[in-house]
Amino acid sequence: MIIAEQKPLAEIQDMVAPYRKILLVGCGTCMTFCSAGGPEQVNELAGTLLSENKNKVIEKTTIPRQCAVKFIDRLENKVGDHEAILSMACGNGVQAVASRFPDKPVLPALNTQFIGVEKEPGVWTENCLACGDCILWRTGGICPVTRCAKSLLNGACGGASGGKCEVSKDCPCAWQEIYHALKRLNMLHYLKEKPQVKDWPIHPGRVVREDLRGEVLS
């Protein structure tokens, strides 16, 4: 799941200041699950913006995902009347909406944080950097590229103490967790190997699946 947080209200107010009629769009998947941009947050943000500025006209809607054209199409009939779209999607959704409606300003109401999980109520942690070359099979299901602050492939560094990363007492040392996981799984031999340097992906990424492009090609 993608995790995001709402931007500071002052920044959102600055963004929407030039526009009177605004379409506020929530996102029904990740942003709803992480309580950043679902229908509930759409209602709250609309209420706050209206209470601050009575002249604004805000229409609210939430689509299942702002990262899929088939759902974005549902906005077609609503967009026309509005001067701007305020999107409560992740950066991916904002861009997909912006590309579908190139003549409308599409404004991000959220700051996208990472791919992660809800660790406990109100706490989310990062799990995947989408590095394009998964090594979780040799690290006990714990990603050092993401969860080690230095992305070490041969951790742990000398800074871990009491099982915590030197960067934050709230952050477990990924390599300590990997060590214990591999010990539990009887796979400690992986720790003795020296993984090759990583082939980092070229950005922007592009995935092409020829098997799914048959119709386009023919």
Partner: protein
């Protein structure tokens, strides 16, 4: 000889080596490095020049090394993977070789969060073990990381750090073994205060025969005050400062003298530990004390090999 450096010759001849740290300034004056070089040149076999230590921007390590070399002091070039990707690391290694630097210490580096630009983007393209292996391949096979040929020699005596006190303890020796097999010719350890834990670690090192495959230099940090002892105990990750040391500093009438005494006692104990081939003194902002410690530890004069 892999590099022909003074440090390599001393260690390979089986003599007890002494190195110390000479951190460059937060400024452009060469005098700071030169002063440290003057203070330390007669009592040390080589001086480590730190690389944006604790993630605080300073004069570059390579420049500091050249300043030392110009005055006849042998430098150890510290390099961290925090600030450079594989292109920059290899380029600097070639430049250092061209400038006559013969020792390199390959490190991850303190996380940028602790420094004076805490929101900088950390590079960490490769890690310290991969870095060691890369320099070894450059030296022994004349090849870049991508396999392309390097023209000219890359003669480095390759060093690495080891922290016997970090977690998980039982994993520390596995990681040291990886550094040694990657190509670490010498090891400089974290500062030692917790001697029982260090002795236990060294036993694990000897059990794996690692002391015969690399030269281990035991790290020492002279303590100036009880405040410094407390700070290191409570705030420095990966350091183990027992309460007894803090109490001794707190009770001392002359804390600096007590700090020297603790350091000398540690050196005496280290001389008794099998597999230790030297010491590395990190007297941050107290370089003046190093020559006295080395003199009183009976390690002067330094051998000429």
């Amino acid at each position: 000889m892999k590099s022909g450096s003074n440090l390599e010759r001393i260690l390979e001849s089986g003599q007890f080596a002494v190195t110390a740290e000479a951190g460059p300034p937060k400024g452009s004056s060469p005098k700071v490095v030169q002063r440290k070089g003057e203070l330390l040149k007669l009592c040390c076999d080589a001086l480590n020049v730190t690389d944006n230590q604790t993630a605080i921007v300073r004069m570059s390590s390579l420049s500091g090394c050249v300043l030392l070399k110009e005055m006849g002091v042998e430098p150890v070039l510290q390099m961290v993977v925090r600030d450079r990707n594989r292109l920059a690391l290899q380029g600097d290694i070639l430049g250092a070789a061209a400038l006559g630097i013969r020792n390199v210490l390959c490190l991850s580096g303190d996380h940028q969060k602790f420094g004076n630009h805490p929101t900088a983007k950390g590079v960490y393209d490769i890690d310290s073990i991969q870095f060691i292996q890369m320099v070894k391949t450059m030296r022994d096979e004349h090849k870049f990381l991508n396999g392309e040929e390097i023209s000219g020699d890359v003669p480095f005596f390759i060093g690495a750090a080891a922290n016997p006190f970090a977690d998980p303890f039982e994993f520390r020796v596995i990681r040291l073994a990886k550094k040694v097999s990657a190509g670490a010719d010498f090891i400089q350890t974290q500062g030692i205060f917790d001697m029982p834990k260090f002795i236990e670690w060294m036993k694990m090192v000897r059990d794996r025969g690692l002391d015969e495959k690399t030269h281990i230099l035991a790290g020492l940090i002279p303590i100036k005050s009880v405040g410094m002892a407390r700070y290191m105990r409570n705030n420095v990750s990966g350091l183990s400062v027992p309460k007894e040391i803090v109490d001794r500093m707190a009770d001392a009438k002359e804390p600096k003298e007590e700090g020297v005494k603790i350091c000398l006692e540690t050196i005496e104990q280290l001389k008794e530990v099998d597999g230790i081939h030297g010491i590395h003194i990190m007297a941050v902002a107290w370089e003046d004390i190093v020559s006295r410690i080395i003199e009183e530890a009976g390690l002067m004069p330094r051998p000429v090999v």
